[in-house]
Symmetry: C2
Subunit: 320 residues, 2 copies
């Protein structure tokens, strides 16, 4: 009998990543491609299956050796039914991705929320390795959250636990994409920062932003923000530090509620802005907790790999 392997797959909004892992959860090979925007159900299925096969070829592993494929989905799913409910970017709607992929590849598939997968990846192989109770937070376009309790991913009653980005830190505050007001995501995601930066650019208070991204909120990427901060644009630094302060308010509350071993933070803003972003988050987090003010905030270590590793290991644990 040939050796056993697992596949982790990240259906990211801009790129997709497939990785092959051995039974020690070590990555043997990975392949990536640009996400085919608006592809629709059938084309996405073909693209996913193709990228999985490509990664297997690179790893010189046969499909028959794959014990589990974990697919991380950046949108609402029904895990039990293996259903992708809605993924507007990829044009995928009400699609039984698990069953379709299983019959196409002849291997077992598990769907997972991408932030849960990312948090779990950092827990099994990254910054939170060896811990028991962990909060994962990933500020980006939105703010994703994942929770590890007693060494297991915590899903809650109906599989929707972990929405740390939708904890309200400012009752009646800015409107959130979810329809509530004052959610962490509404006051300190990259989208929230971008709204303020557009305003600054219009007012002439952020020349670097204006130069690199104009006044288009869709162009306010982390790299642009970084450039303006490096250029010493005070108003931009203030907007970022204010967002960091709010994130610290939310994380402080999470510590008072969960008393975790540590908090892992990752995602594009963290990767691009580094300590200029993390230091004010950490100061605010400590100022806004009473239960365990010594809880550590650590940077995620695995980058894009956290999601594919987490998805593969979660699928392996479920199907093995």
């Amino acid at each position: 009998m040939a050796e056993k392997y697992y596949v982790g797959f990240d259906m990211g909004g801009t790129k997709m990543l497939a990785a092959v892992l051995d039974t020690e959860y070590t990555e043997c090979a990975s392949e990536k491609m640009r996400t085919p925007v608006g592809a629709g159900n059938k084309e996405m299925l073909k693209a996913i299956a193709g990228l999985v096969q490509q990664a297997l070829d690179t790893a010189k592993v046969d499909l028959k050796q794959i014990a589990a494929i974990g697919i991380a989905v950046p949108g609402p799913i029904d895990r039990d039914k293996g259903l992708v409910i809605d993924l507007p970017n990829a044009g995928m709607h009400d699609y039984h991705l698990r069953d379709e992929l299983e019959s196409r590849l002849g291997a077992r598939v598990v769907l997972e929320n991408d932030v849960n997968a990312g948090t779990y990846g950092e827990f099994t192989s990254g910054a939170a390795k060896g811990k028991r109770n962990v909060i994962g937070v990933f500020p980006g376009t939105g703010i994703g959250g994942g929770i590890i309790i007693d060494g297991a991913l915590y899903r809650g009653h109906s599989g929707r636990a972990g929405e740390i980005g939708h904890m309200i830190v400012e009752a009646g505050g800015r409107r959130c994409g979810c329809g509530k007001y004052g959610c962490l995501e509404a006051v300190c995601s990259r989208t929230a920062i971008a709204k303020d930066l557009v305003h600054l650019a219009l007012n002439g208070q952020a020349p670097t932003i204006l130069d690199k991204a104009g006044t288009d909120i869709a162009k306010m990427k982390s790299g642009v923000i970084k450039k303006a901060m490096d250029a010493g644009e005070k108003a931009v630094i203030e907007v970022v530090e204010r967002a960091a302060w709010y994130l610290g308010v939310g994380l402080g509350s999470c510590i008072d509620i969960f008393d975790p071993d540590l908090v892992v933070i990752g995602g594009g803003l963290v990767e691009k802005l580094g300590r200029a972003y993390l230091d004010p988050i950490e100061r605010s987090m400590r100022a806004h907790t009473m239960a365990a003010p010594d809880t550590k905030l650590v940077e995620a270590k695995l980058g894009d790999d956290s999601v594919v590793i987490g998805a593969a290991v979660l699928a392996a644990k479920e199907l093995d």
Copy 2:
């Protein structure tokens, strides 16, 4: 060998309660007394031991039959060391209550946070019986919280989890007793309500409050608030409904984070004000959650007994 029993003890701020439970966790007898305010370590020990003995006498149970005594403490403790860190009301400070009580009574003792015990009592025998993931919240002088995850009390990394009352729902809002600003406790505990009622009484907008409690914040008990609401004092009803709205904001966030089977709510405000308080909490809670808007808010069923039952059962599970 004689049958086995457990004792649960609640060191409340105003009264103390001791209960004897059999191995089915059914209460055989209980006794209570007024808490001896400012008694100090030694006198409190004597009072606790005396009340335990009294409950045993009533139940016709011998100390030798007691397999575990659970003591619920309304203040900071070090569970591992069996230490009561600070209990100003009783005048107890840095006291090894567990060991002192064990050597005095010759039975095993476990200390527990009182809100954890209350939540656990409702979980084993009350409104949350048979559930797996439960949030308990007890608005009163402060706002206590307890968390049951996967059928077990969740304590976190350093035993300080569950501080739902110190989750910040209004960043930069009212100052809390803990030193932070905008905690749930700061904006909607009975103390927060009382601050507003004193103001109303002073302004002539709450004649019933002025009549029953004057302008003394310490006299704003739940019963007085109930009388003013029953008298139709609009400003008082508004203050209570505003507090209920804030509590719903916090509970909605808890649902988005935990996705629990249900939320149990208890304590003096709930018991006195009933639906006039619970209905606006429930409406606000549903409006402020996106993950699981159908999560139920249920009223605690056991009243004062939840704490003694929870303390006894937690001690039983630990020592048996």
